[in-house]
Symmetry: C2
Subunit: 372 residues, 2 copies
């Protein structure tokens, strides 16, 4: 077989690269901020699906890793990660069995439950386990109307149901405000997130008043990292994208009204090659629909070459034209792009080239895309 | 580990399913049509990336399999597929080496070359092989301005260069009209495709007049399958999507002005589960940005449930609302969707559940997404 690439020019394209210096500064920045504000962090692995990145997050002080799917949970547990929190509700019996199997295998796992049927399924699947073997959070719907129960009576009702199940132990609540994460403008974003968090803190208080254990309040996105960390009652952040960053987050604006959100560095790029240059007004790169996420706007974000405009034109092709003064790249040239949205871009690849400058320091597998 | 699912209700979602009865009818339909029209077919594997599907295509009479990337070429060759045609140009030395390695290993491979640099690279990498060891086509740019040389003088110049390389053997031309495949309306589509094909046939004639071997004219998409097959001078079709179909192709309209293109059946679906149902106006399914291609419009194509409207709302979530009379599905219900665009949807999955009705007949790996 071909030997592994050792430098950037040897990497076959399109390829997903992470700059380790930038990644490490991002890891350090969130960790320091959380320590300074007395809040824990359990970063979300749906961004990277990569045990290597998860281990670095744990090494930086994370109390665990959040995951969106059972496949991600299994991959992280298999990689030796402790404190895995499944943040999405389950409604399939075999997936419930798989989560319970992780606990049966000795793993420390948390599950954010979103409805009464899930509580019944989890209890049935774990009935042979010891008392309080399965740690759960109540998933609260704090405004994005996507998953979870309403804070207030619905949350209390779910807590009462959980209390009747010997093998389950209620540990707190989850309140992900998906509708707040990408609000443009720091003040507007803070307002949206704080309104959601107020509901969650009240719900947690209500549960405690009713005598339930509810110590954990898990929440937060990269867009609200320095908002949620200062909100009294929040115990841990679930930020995911902060490790890589992307164009979608850059657009939301920073604190003190900065037009761009630059709290974290762009560590993730897509490397491509110019494979056709037969026209005066354009060249073709080998990065198309299968190389970049496509659900959000994406116009030319070639690193250090702002005069180039990218337009996708097929599974494996993108067209580069001029959007300002400068020259088109030449046949065989490499172009490196910032990803539009990091999570679904990562999902398009099987591995991540971990770069130290121009050197390939490691090749990290992206796991748990589905069943792998 | 969990035992493999044997029936549809046991399949963990989101999952990619292929209905084998429909797939087989699609395979048969294209094969019969090609036989009746005296044209060969070398269907495109960028649609499925699945050796199992490629083998069925070969069994149906395909002369080979087209591929878009070196990774796909390697996966198909490893699976024992003969007649692999790489349809995209190369500009990376190590990828050229990998293609030449396939030939060195005894594989029958065709490469559509798009520029002079590629000819030089291929010749240099294959100089130790025997005369005419490497079969090439000239990739023509017949209007989509994406890859290839212009038909006419540019094609002749490339042919002259190829003729100076001992190890290369020119076999013909490739003329993919990407701009014609999805033209809405049969007459308009036929006009666009025939204009492109006329350029390709003329170029092939010119090459023959100049004394070059140019027997192959490889072209065609699923949208132009019954247009290109009847165009004199065309020798083989590269249709890919016909095996699965998708919403993008359904929109283009059929012959005799039918509003929908129903020449092939929808064999591919995405299976999802309702995982949250806490609101009166909506439920949430577990299929989001990572479950469906997102570069083309997609509004609710739940199989047999046209009253449901789908809106993506995160990596792993989609919202279902009512768009007409009928009821919302319930928690735990399954919903099956037609894919917006099959190629990039397949690229999101690692395996394909091959279904015979409600039974899982096999689980097929999706290979060659990138380096796997």
């Amino acid at each position: 077989m071909t030997r592994l690439p050792r430098t950037k020019p040897e990497i076959p394209t399109p390829a997903l690269l992470v700059d380790l210096d930038r990644l490490e500064r991002n890891l350090h920045r969130l960790a320091e901020h959380c320590r300074a504000n007395g809040v824990s962090f359990r970063p979300h692995a749906k961004t990277h699906k990569c045990p290597n990145v998860a281990r670095l997050q744990i090494a930086a002080g994370a109390v665990g890793i959040s995951v969106a799917t059972v496949f991600e949970a299994e991959a992280m547990v298999q990689a030796g990660i402790r404190g895995v929190l499944l943040t999405s509700p389950l409604a399939e019996p075999h997936k419930v069995d798989r989560m319970v199997d992780l606990v049966r295998g000795g793993s420390e796992v948390l599950i954010a439950v979103g409805h009464a049927m899930e509580v019944d399924m989890l209890a049935a699947a774990s009935s042979d386990l010891g008392p309080s073997a399965l740690n759960v959070l109540i998933d609260l719907d704090v405004g994005d109307r996507r998953t979870g129960v309403q804070p207030g009576d619905e949350a209390v009702t779910l807590a009462q149901q959980i209390a009747t199940k010997k093998s389950l132990r209620l540990r707190g609540v989850q309140a992900y405000a998906g509708h707040a994460s990408h609000v443009v403008g720091f003040a507007e974003r803070a307002m949206a997130s704080q309104a959601a968090l107020a509901l969650a803190v009240d719900a947690k208080q209500l549960l405690k008043q009713k005598g339930f254990e509810a110590d954990i309040l898990s929440c937060g996105s990269t867009g609200t990292w320095n908002i949620d960390s200062r909100f009294a009652g929040v115990t841990e952040l679930q930020c995911g994208s902060y490790v890589f960053m992307d164009i979608d987050y850059r657009r939301i604006g920073g604190s003190d009204n900065a037009p761009l959100f630059v709290d974290f560095e762009h560590s993730l790029t897509v490397l491509s090659t110019v494979i056709s240059a037969g026209h005066a007004d354009r060249v073709t790169v080998d990065a198309g629909i299968k190389a970049f996420s496509t659900e959000t706007p994406f116009r030319a974000e070639a690193v250090d070459q702002p005069h180039l405009v990218y337009t996708r034109t097929g599974d494996e092709f993108g067209i580069i034209t001029l959007g300002g003064p400068g020259a088109l790249p030449k046949l065989g040239d490499r172009l490196e792009f910032l990803p539009p949205h990091c999570d679904p871009t990562v999902h398009l690849y099987d591995q991540l080239y971990a770069m130290r400058g121009e050197q390939v320091e490691a090749i990290w597998p992206i796991r748990a895309r589905r069943e792998n």
